[in-house]
């Protein structure tokens, strides 16, 4: 089985090629053609460096850390971590739509429940208190606009 660090090196290699290609096809304006420094000068150099370094990593990868980590690979709580990422994505998607207080309270309640909090009343209280407090600090006190409720979300 191919090791993770080598997989990452291959991904970096592919990324560098893609980055280099985008830099190469970047449109240069007529007046920039004869300039010593063009918008793609540094990106092309970086792409070259990226290809060289990731190539070296592909050839020479020997990662003890990963082997060590892989021993505990199965013992990790993957399901919880993936669900937490799903909650984050949902929070990001619905934050503007549902307003800060509702979205944050739901996220904190769901997150704490996922990680073992059984008492919904307590988690709801803490979630609501924290979201209102942060909203109050950010919006009315500091003056940074943060829509608190769905009706005030104003898309």
């Amino acid at each position: 089985m191919i090791r993770l660090d080598r997989c990452i090196a291959i991904a970096l290699f592919a990324f560098s090629i893609g980055y280099g290609y985008l830099a190469w096809i970047h449109p240069i304006l007529p007046f920039e053609v004869r300039m010593p420094f063009k918008p793609n000068t540094m990106p092309l150099g970086l792409a070259g460096l990226g290809i060289l370094l990731s190539g070296l990593l592909i050839i020479s990868s020997h990662n003890d850390d990963f082997v060590k980590d892989a021993e505990g690979w199965r013992g990790f709580a993957w399901k919880q971590a993936i669900l937490l990422v799903v909650f984050m994505v949902l929070y990001a998607l619905f934050l503007r739509m549902s307003g800060f207080i509702l979205a944050t309270t739901l996220f904190l309640v769901a997150g704490s429940r996922l990680l073992g909090e059984k008492n919904y009343v307590r988690s709801s209280f803490i979630g609501l208190f924290a979201s209102v407090l942060i909203w109050y600090l950010v919006d009315p006190i500091l003056g940074i606009y943060l829509a608190p409720l769905p009706s005030m979300g104003g898309q």
């Binding site: 010593p36 540094m42 970086l46 990593l57 937490l84 990422v85 704490s112």
Partner: protein, 499 residues
Amino acid sequence: MLEGMLAGLGAVLTPFNLLMVLVGCFLGTFIGMLPGLGPMSIIAIMIPVAIQLGDPASALILLSGVYYGAIFGGSTSSILINAPGVAGTVASSFDGYPMARAGQAGKALTIAAISSFAGGTVGVILLMIFAPVLSSVAKLFWSAEYFALMVLGLTAVAAFAGRGKVIKAMAMTVFGVMLATVGESALHNAARFTMGIMDLQSGIYFVTLVMGLFALPEALFLVLDKGRSESIENSGKIENLRISKEEAIEIAPVIGRQSVLGFLIGVLPGAGATMASFLGYAIERNLAPPGEREKFGKGSIRGLAAPETANNAACTGSFVPMLTLGIPGSGTTAILLGALIALSVTPGPRLMEDQPEIFWAVIMSMYIGNIVLLILNLPLIPYIAKLLTVPRHYLIPFVVFFSLVGAYIGQNNGTELLIMIGLGCMATLLRFGGYPLPPLIIGFILGGMLEDNLGRAMRKSGGLEFMWDRPMTLCILMLAVGLLIYPIIKDKRQPSRER
């Protein structure tokens, strides 16, 4: 000079102005702890309040207090939850956070407070002595030297790489610089690498990247590995707030060196606290004896004291070009410059002669701010560190929530959060693969300035000749090459010796 100092001291030491320092430090510390709200945004927010005060001295005293408080607050969130809200405190998390995890949160915060105080104090003294001289040296630097300085900052990456990880660290640095090129550059108006996503037009937001690379993977690791989060809960017990005599002796020379170095870097416009903290960390790691060097990144007190001292000294140093030349040395001083202008004070070469009371009031308020911050924060450390005793099922969602909100505040953009979550997942995989993340963030932070200065230098010299045309540029670049080659040779030599 003495008259000016006394006038400045007289302006600061009134009950109202002392109250302003106190309020500023407290607000700065509290708000600075929230990831995403760095000194720049806090000062920007406080400017209307400061202008309402009317008196320029009182306004600047309030803003200085906020500035120092925010820096200390930023260090606190770096150390306690590995969520650096600003670039300048990223390096503090490298050793501060492992210390907190090892049950030494109180000690880490004490070292941070003392180092910050010492760095700030030495910085103020140097500012008083060298402000006129140093401003003329800074004028000698042009884009070629700045480019060389950025390259030096990037090659310091070697300091963050453990044995056998030098190429990985270099690859991560290049990857970070690549990310910095997304969006419009300072020299060209056309957006690059945005893939048609409008939100990337102005590039990747710093807070999004730093939260994605540091805070989110930490939260995910805490979920993945339950034992890890239990050790964090235990670390909140502040049994050891004091630092021993041996530890004080150990960090004293670090603080001394980094106060001067940080100040000198801070004087250079554009270099600022971030580069000072990374370079300070790199230098101290290289100077440390072999046994101590291995502790860097795992909870070394030298590794924490160095960036904290350099960061604060550089913050003070960045006032030199602002007060003497009218050139802001950092984003924060740019905002302070705006505040000064709004208060009908024009910083520049004539400020020291025309309005000495303002010049010295700013300097004295920085000094008083440092003292107040130390008095205010040291007793609060046990309470601040109690943050870590929050149960796992609340601590993790709150770390995630603060990270998400940090990226969302001011942007009001859900796409930013999705980018951050994507970066968080990518960073988690990179950590599993043994790829160091600090070089990536260094590359990202310095990438924009690197391209800007390279472009200017190349345009001025018509090519790459600037690298050897100016002796100062050549010297800095040779030093950078040396820094790059040294860890590779060291890596190659060590296994053969062991054999």
